[in-house]
């Protein structure tokens, strides 16, 4: 199928060796650093005088499972729209998620849950690791079909690290709120992937043009991804928020926002479609923008109306992005964005960050009552005004864009190393070279 015998032999060994090396390294680091936390360790849990039903497991695990389904089923199948790339879309999603979950447990653990030299793990660390895997898969969407699995693993190695740093800067140093990750997950993942794709620009990609579209059944497989993402998104945004009203409110806001982005996506898709026809690409993607756009503000007192308005706007921007902006990005900015992550995660993520700035700036003691401390602890403690919190939120967005761009650039340079083996221009979006 491809290349010279030596090249084939190289490829044959590259992926296995990299998998084994990475797995060996994380396993050693796990042995040295990772320990059960007091809610998972038999001795520690039973040394406290707590009832089984107090275990955090019962409050977070159902949300974790929903997030886990979104990461594996949702992202995997959403990317299976390409006619000849279903195995790779689903399979590499699986591979990347598996690696990112381990590696991110370590990176996030070093930053957030280091106790006495040990990383403590439990349901929260599982949720956080899945969030990081989501960012990696968003970036994957931008280069889908144009990179090999070994390349993707190397990028994930870098991206998980930078994701952890960026998240630490935002959440721990700047005191930014971003439960559902409009910034840390969507904006970061999207712009990392976009810059990566830009660095890997292929001027002769039209050689694979005939494989770049979908066929009837591949679009239906992609809809499996879409609908699972849509259904479970309220759990995604609420998985790491404060227990009680915080989690409850976040699900409600996300639910409303998604209904509105769906309606605006259908409206806009038919409006800009040829002969008023709907476009599957819009429905599969832009309808989900409502989940992205309330990632930051979903836990705040956004109000149900605010959620509808935000979702409506996100669906509109995303659909118009697919129609008008993606072709321009490719033609003018040499940005080949296979899944249109700029439209689903990039712009809605930035919008979501800005919405967070707005809603944080409007926070009052009256609206949040004694709950202000749960949502904006620094404001409740009087360390910051609501306006200052808003400014920090805005600064968090700029930090995220910086980390994402620099990271994507570094990733791109890494992938241009000559011994790595990308598919040739004429074999992009093609399963047969890997399966």
């Amino acid at each position: 199928m491809a290349g010279s015998p030596r090249r084939a032999a190289g490829r044959r060994l590259q992926l296995p060796l990299l998998c084994l090396l990475l797995q060996g390294a994380t396993a050693i680091l796990f042995a040295v650093f990772v320990r059960y936390n007091p809610e998972t360790d038999a001795a520690l849990w039973h040394s406290g005088n707590r009832s089984s039903s107090d275990n955090e497991f019962y409050f977070r695990y159902p949300s974790f499972q929903d997030v886990h389904v979104m990461v594996c089923v949702g992202f995997g199948f959403l990317m299976a729209f390409l006619q000849r790339y279903g195995f790779s879309s689903v399979g590499f999603t699986f591979l990347l998620a598996a690696f990112a979950l381990q590696w991110s447990t370590l990176i996030q653990g070093f930053f957030h849950s280091l106790h006495g030299g040990h990383i403590h793990v439990g349901v929260q660390s599982m949720i956080n690791a899945d969030f990081c895997a989501a960012a990696v898969l968003i970036s994957f969407g931008a280069v889908l079909g144009k990179t090999g699995p070994a390349q993707l693993l190397l990028v994930a190695l870098l991206e998980v690290l930078l994701f952890g740093v960026n998240e630490f800067v935002l959440l721990s140093l700047l005191g930014v709120k971003d439960a559902g990750g409009s910034m840390t997950i969507h904006t970061f993942g999207a712009y990392f992937g976009l810059v990566l794709s830009r660095v890997l620009y292929r001027p002769h990609l039209e050689k694979s043009k005939h494989r770049q579209g979908s066929i009837y059944h591949s679009d239906l497989f992609a809809m499996i991804g879409t609908i699972f993402l849509w259904t479970f998104w309220p759990s995604f945004n609420s998985a790491p928020t404060m227990l009680g009203d915080g989690q409850h409110r976040t699900t409600l806001n996300t639910y409303y926002s998604l209904t509105a982005s769906t309606l605006s996506t259908f409206a806009l898709s038919a409006l800009v479609g040829e002969h008023g026809r709907l476009d599957m690409v819009h429905i599969q993607n832009a309808a989900l923008a409502g989940g992205v756009v309330v990632g930051t503000s979903g836990e705040m007192m956004l109000t149900p109306f605010g959620a509808l308005a935000a979702g409506f706007l996100a669906g509109t921007v995303s659909t118009l992005g697919y129609k008008f902006f993606t072709p321009v990005l490719e033609a003018k900015f040499k940005l080949q964005d296979t899944c249109g992550v700029h439209n689903l995660h990039g712009m809605p993520g930035v919008l979501g960050a800005l919405l967070g700035v707005l809603v944080a700036g409007l926070a009052t003691h009256e609206a949040y009552g004694d709950g202000l401390g749960s949502v904006f602890p620094l404001v409740a403690e009087g360390q910051r005004s609501a306006t200052a919190q808003a400014m920090y939120q805005l600064f968090g967005l700029l930090v995220t864009l910086t980390f994402a761009s620099v990271g994507g650039g570094l990733g791109g340079l890494l992938l241009r190393l000559p011994f790595l083996d990308p598919p040739p221009d004429s074999q992009c979006y093609e399963d047969r070279i890997y399966w």
Copy 2:
């Protein structure tokens, strides 16, 4: 593909304008009326002295998610059995659900959770809205492939309203029990859709006959819908019941009933099939009748045996309905029921209502103990005898059939408005005119 240029232009604008209009209207109503309830509002929740773990979220949200998956994944893919209508089946399900969830939040809110002029929303309102969306999607099944998306949105506008009224009459005025909606969801949705389909009768539908069946892969996509519905149905019936034993018992009854309807469906399908062969249509649909038939009685002391017997009967009736009754309905009663909702939701729904009459009539203080107040509060308070409760249940069925029929008829007249644009007889069950 279709019609004159003006007609195409009309269609081009109809769906977008309707989406925008409906979204605009619900958004304004949300702004005026919809507020977080005391479990979702930061100030209200924290003003009570309650532990986070008391929040209703932790008792109802997992059920909500299961219901949400059933509505979006289950119904959407179940209807994807048609060979050339998968995009529309899944896509319009998505659109209808998104709109119905918003609109029903308002309608059900006006009837059930108006406090000081405001509708209070939380996990219960999300469950209720999803239930209403399910009824709308059941009706969609009867006219699948024969209506356009703008038509469907208009029908949903009417149906959600009547669903709310009917539900209010049954649950609030008549004190009828119907947690899983044998009456309010299945019977209502089915007969609404059937009368709608009757009014929209197409004498020349045979022009699209060749597209009306399934192909191999479309049947497998439909099985995704079936199995998700089957798996999560215990959560559906139990989502709104009383906490504790009520919810627990309902899941158990539904689980048993579904196993029995599956066995009777396989038995009957092979018995009436050519050469003893099984029919995918039966397995995809009739096997689910066990969930429908215990919608009313699932929370009652039906007994595990009762659940098996009910499920067995429902699977039998439903399979025989597909084999013998559907052709008669079409030939003699001009009733073109694309998905056979009469067999899956209509007859099993009525059976479920009647089973509710029976089990309610048999309720004793001995069998329910102090739990009688949870299941039949009016009987426990001595305001009604069990027999009277049974009579109210029966009356509730008649009310439902009336509302459904009148509503379906009105819906049909609405859809015959000349400027609406149904697919021509030769283009039914065809994605290409919309996608």
Copy 3:
């Protein structure tokens, strides 16, 4: 299509009559024996002075739902990889699960929850019944495509019985720990199915060779099964463990183990694949071996590193099994194992049992603290040393292998009864004879 008219008539009646007979029998047994347990019965629950939120439902039902999805969606679609056997894979999974759930409720009830002559049912019995159904479906995988539905029901009748006996011997008589069923589910199901397949050896199966592989879309359907199994496996292993830290720790261990088996599967698959290509069969199956291998030890203090190491080993063994061992089994041992259950459930199940021996033997009061009583009650009570517990675990594996082998042999003899009607050698892996 098939056989003489009399044979066709026989087949026509065999499946329906068997379904009706089995359903009739279980229904009668349900009427006589099965009753709501104190958590599901209205009178019993309300006679206690308990809060609704104490009901076990809220601690186990989300896990149950995840297990239920795995059994129905996971197993069903995983077996849908065959190009012309998707209907049967998904449909017979559905039929077998429905029957096994009922029958196993009775069998397991007789062994584990008989109170005053009545079997008490609730969420735990639902989880247990689903576990038994999983074992039946594992066995189904070994004979997939070579047996008819009536044959499968008869085998299930026998297998559920033996599953219950084996489980009773291990858990109740020997005091063996096996929450996630490395022994009781995976080893038992796999070797039962393998011996069954051996007894039903078909020397001329190559007549159906052309239908034995997958095609592009059928592999994608199978990936639906894989990913659902992978995602929800942490819930599977933890569903029946002790509440609190036990359940929490089990999910964590399973999650890590699965990530490692995924990485080792990708590594090994590419290493042994032609030109370094990955093999869908490996990814679909071997990546799941990490869930199987921690079925016994997942609730123990395996440590996160231990989970990674176990998963890595299981993925490696399983992938190598598919590549090198399956062809030998077929050629030398006349073992036709359609789904390769020996590689996914057999070897990893045995490994998991041995890992349980090791981890149990290493249990100390120091590592488990006061939690030792939850994991190893007999060790905590001083009735056994950790070493003795390890020996019992090992003995449990031998008992399981014995029951499975004898059971599979008996099942094979049963299925060779002349009036049962297997597909001819030339019609294996073919839906058309049943659908």
